[in-house]
Symmetry: C2
Subunit: 418 residues, 2 copies
């Protein structure tokens, strides 16, 4: 599939993240206006609420774009998703006679502030990066117990905290927590000293369900994807995570990119899963190519400094697809709702420079890595800005995710000052 040309000229570059082939959905505002639904096209945002109110878009009921989130639209289901994409593609295409009617509803993206694109119903974080699981397992439990016995049989995950999911650009406050080092007699309550990030994709459930889903049905229920940084306090995690899993280590914040790249836009980039070392049970078996070929990168920028790309990897390294994760999530009957967010797990490749967390890049602090300005890092320092990026590369076009950025603020002097 080649680049689709739009009358929004800035969208017609081979490297632009938001060509007509993409059409990601977000929620934006401009100075003095309310947050509302929009779609990115080149350097512009089409105000979907306004276009809907003007009768240019007719999908859904009259109120579907009234709230400042995509949840109501997502709940309409697959046919509505296809209708809106078809309609937007036609209206924004070069030569469309809708140009004059739409132009008043375009806003320059650089004049817009982005907000959370969805109300997150619940957040689940998985662990589907095999290299990540092996690396972390080696550090936490030793090489002999690196990959848990269940790992090759099911997509391991845990429930996270929807209330702590924030949109790109939100500052992150270094947390306090209970910490006990290997040499400590007793725990203490102190600011985390091993604060980390995790490079992930987030899958957004569009269609709700109320019982076990097949892998194919799960795939069909996923509306789209975002970049996701699951900020992680490794020192809190090491002391708390046995026996019931991560809790406060993951409770400070999870950042997502503001644009939902739809499953439809990513369809050309579907790819097969890695080779299965052991066959999956029937209910989790691959039902077609449901992974994605998406280049991913992480940059770290110290306060006032220059960015260093600290990791480059690809989403095709994930052992389990979001569809398999969602299917597993429902196996025991768990109801899923519109707006449920599923983190993929940290995406690390086989090579050292492909590791999606500082924990892995600096091997638990044993091997600090260097930034372009000569500084070194083992974990995130106050003032550091972490940015994730993602791009699927087509034949003469790109489907990009936009930014997933957060800056770490110093811990409060005391968390109970207020």
């Amino acid at each position: 599939m080649p680049l689709k040309l739009s009358w929004v000229a800035s969208a017609n570059g081979a490297d632009h993240p938001f060509p007509l082939n993409n059409l990601p959905y977000g929620v934006f505002s401009t100075a003095g206006t309310d947050p509302r639904c929009g779609v990115a096209i080149g350097d512009m945002i089409l105000d979907v609420r306004a276009a809907h109110a003007a009768g240019l878009i007719t999908v859904g009921g009259t109120r579907v774009f009234d709230p400042p989130s995509w949840n109501a639209f997502m709940a309409l289901g697959q046919d509505a998703w296809a209708d809106l994409r078809d309609r937007l593609t036609a209206m924004l295409a070069q030569g469309s006679d809708a140009q004059a009617a739409l132009e008043p509803h375009l806003v320059a993206a650089n004049a817009a502030q982005m907000h959370m694109p969805i109300e997150v119903a619940e957040f689940t974080d998985f662990y589907a990066g095999r290299h990540h699981a092996t690396n972390v397992g080696t550090m936490f439990r030793g090489a002999d117990n690196a990959l848990p016995p269940n790992w090759l049989h099911m997509p391991i995950g845990y429930n996270g905290r929807a209330s702590s999911v924030v949109v790109s650009g939100t500052d992150i406050r270094r947390p306090w927590g209970q910490i006990k080092g290997p040499g400590d007699d007793t725990p203490r309550f102190a600011p985390s000293q091993r604060f980390d990030m995790e490079l992930e994709l987030g899958a957004i459930v569009g269609t709700p369900s109320d019982g076990p889903l097949s892998v194919q049905d799960a795939f069909d229920n996923i509306f789209g994807y975002v970049l996701l940084n699951d900020w992680s306090a490794r020192d809190i995690q090491a002391w708390e995570y046995q026996p019931l899993g991560p809790f406060q280590a993951k409770a400070t914040a999870t950042t997502i990119s503001p644009w939902i790249v739809t499953a439809a836009a990513l369809a050309p980039f579907r790819c097969d899963a890695p080779v299965r070392e052991v066959p999956l049970l029937d209910h989790l078996r691959d039902a077609g190519p449901m992974g994605y070929d998406i280049d991913l990168a992480v940059t770290l920028t110290p306060n006032g400094g220059a960015p260093t790309t600290i990791a480059r990897t690809n989403a095709n390294a994930l052992y389990y697809s979001a569809a398999q994760q969602l299917a597993h999530h429902t196996a025991a009957g768990c109801p899923m709702r519109t707006g449920d967010l599923l983190g993929s797990g940290t995406i690390s490749g086989a090579e050292p420079h492909q590791r999606g967390s500082l924990l892995e890049l600096a091997w638990g602090g044993q091997d600090p890595f260097q930034l372009t300005d000569g500084q070194t890092r083992s974990f995130i320092e106050d003032g550091d800005t972490l940015a994730l990026s993602g791009h699927a590369r087509g034949d003469g076009f790109t489907v990009g995710f936009g930014a997933c950025v957060g800056t770490l603020l110093p811990a409060l002097a005391t968390p109970y000052a207020r």
Copy 2:
């Protein structure tokens, strides 16, 4: 504090769960009517929405009782909670001149169907029963590793799934899941054979927060309590729970009792925590008596059979209070929302007949227990009804929780039939 007398005569018994001293909040409907907020008084329910619409209750804005849940009211905060309780107490008291005006808004409880009293924002399940943690730890990890090293230092918990919380009376479907026994070479996907219940209290967050809470602030933010049965598939749990905690084992359903017993109603029953074997860190230190003296019991009734009380214990066995759990939940900055539900963890006493789960009562199937009709149980069988009950006993009055009941239906022949 003695029994407070009401003009609703049925409320004036020393053993009635819903005297004027209690005034628990729920959501009810009668044949052909919508679910709406109500308060239990004796054998009657006062229609709070109707009383509010009639101007008899003025707390909150005009719309606070429009939705069929208590969330909007809970979000008003402590002063509003006290105002409503004071107003209801005065109007329902013996001799009140409001009797004639209120009587048209009373409904017989036995003609009402109960619904979820709140929209659950997110659900967290803790593990604060020391005897339970020790018993399960012994079975899962051996006596030497029974109590995890962190357990005496913080209230261990994990995030659960709000979408699976159901109200008392909802049937529970035996789940399928991935299971691998100790002697199995590979896992299989099959109906759970070790399906269990857990006797817990649930604390409901009323006041939202956005940063670390002290134990006292956390206590003040809790609106009330329900009984909570955290249904658990032990065979799924054993295979999945390492390293990231319980997931599908706890995803089928969690049942809560329909009446929220407020923190205010339970104030006379506050008690000190168990003796601390090691001192808690400052931010978790006891800030007064924040445990509760509540008698708890579990009955099991086979399909068509007679009930057997299989466990009797008391909430005062919990090592951590809900306030300490909520404080810990926020330590790393996690925002909490109105409607967050915190399970206490299974409440087991020191004695065998005080154990709050079948896993413990039958010691993992090694020691099946007997029902009154001679049947034995290791885990729940199809058709069994499990009922939790809770009562705080005052001087001539009782504050009861009402029923928390669920019946186990057989597993589907295949979970993917639909």
